[in-house]
């Protein structure tokens, strides 16, 4: 295959991974408009950082930026957080604000298959860090090492998050059988 045009390096690195970027943003934000905002912002950041990109894995690099951008919006203030005006989430495995209301998402109206909808709801209800690990592994089919790189997490943590995510899925699926 011909080499990319000399001025097209950014495009060559980033464009093949736009679907992956969207899939991650969409699952982290659980809302199509919010995902689009994240991607717009992430692309601006990617353009800015690209001259310094020396890595060999543009997919991990781009997904890392998408992930950081999404976290910046979801958790603007890590640590002691501002109390939201709505009910504060209970401390627990699945916080209240992690539960998605599928009816609120117009895209869900298009999802007619019951199984698909059920699977969608089960993943959407997972806590953010677990959902992220699961989406990168099961939908993006990335190896642990790359998930660790994208999420700035040791591989051992990736493994335990994946395990917890899968356990929650199994348990939830058992509680509400198809």
């Amino acid at each position: 295959m011909a080499a990319a045009a000399p001025d097209g390096k950014f495009e060559a690195a980033v464009l093949p991974h736009l679907d992956a970027a969207h899939n991650l943003a969409r699952w982290l934000m659980r809302d199509s408009a919010a995902a689009e905002d994240v991607l717009q912002e992430a692309i601006v950041r990617a353009l800015t950082y690209f001259p310094g990109f020396r890595g060999v894995n543009p997919r991990a690099w781009l997904l890392q930026i998408v992930r950081n951008t999404a976290y910046g919006i979801l958790k603007p203030n890590r640590g002691p957080t501002l109390v939201p005006i709505a009910a504060e989430p209970e401390p627990g495995a699945i916080a209240e604000d992690e539960l998605v209301s599928p009816e609120a998402d117009p895209e869900m109206a298009l999802i007619c298959s019951r199984d698909r909808r059920r699977a969608y709801e089960l993943i959407a209800a997972l806590p953010l860090e677990l959902r992220e690990a699961l989406v990168l592994r099961e939908l993006e089919e990335l190896p642990y090492k790359e998930i660790a790189e994208i999420t700035h997490t040791p591989i051992g943590t990736v493994m335990s998050r994946l395990w917890r995510a899968r356990r929650l899925l199994i348990d939830a699926a058992r509680e509400q059988p198809a």
Binding site: A2, D19, H22, L47, A119, I123, L139, Y144, W163
Partner: protein
Amino acid sequence: MTGEHCDKVLLVQAEFDGEIDAAQAAELAAHRAGCPVCRAAAAELAQTRELLRGADLYQPMPDAVRGTILSRIAATRPAPPARRRWFAGWRQGWIGFGLGAACAAGLAFLLLAPSQQPLVEELVASHIRALQPGHLEDVVSTDRHTVKPWFDGRLDFAPPVKDLAAAGFPLKGGRLDYVDGRPVAALVYQRDKHLIDLFVWPESSRLAGAPREATESGYNVVHWSADGMTLWAVSDLEAGQLADFARDWRQKP
């Protein structure tokens, strides 16, 4: 959850995810023979994967979002100066040539200037990329009245879409692509088993340009301009037939 636990479940999971080596796998197999927790875990892992992968949950980027993103990238990138200069020079040269060249153009194909090489490479790379499964068309239709409106709102120009089925080049569909620092229309035509990508985007000059041709990585490329658009046909079709395609396209009203 069963409530029972085993320290090796993460290893079971790693095996399931294809992340352990043969030695670890052998050790795990020996352990699992005597551990009901790990055997149950392996079954549950398979169950989660079935639940997820069977449900078509992947969320690829919608076309509208892709269009916005591509425009945003394009906006930060001025067209490369070298190529611009060449275009300018070509236009001046064209005027110098006079209309005599226009008559000759229908018969003789000129060779592309070497400075067009990066663009030719980029177009061929786009064509090859598009041949990957599922990447060829965003809109699949043999009807130009379906393909043309599909581009509305996805591009800031309306690409010409012509029906060349009678000439033996049926339309297959179209897609958005990204070439020369901007979003472009790619129309897909077919001749027998060969696919032709026709890349179209506006050109500031309204002069009609004679077809020019090039070869890159075994692919043939023909370039011409018409009605304020620049057009590039890329295919593994034999050069003569691709030239026929260009001629038929230009003659078709």
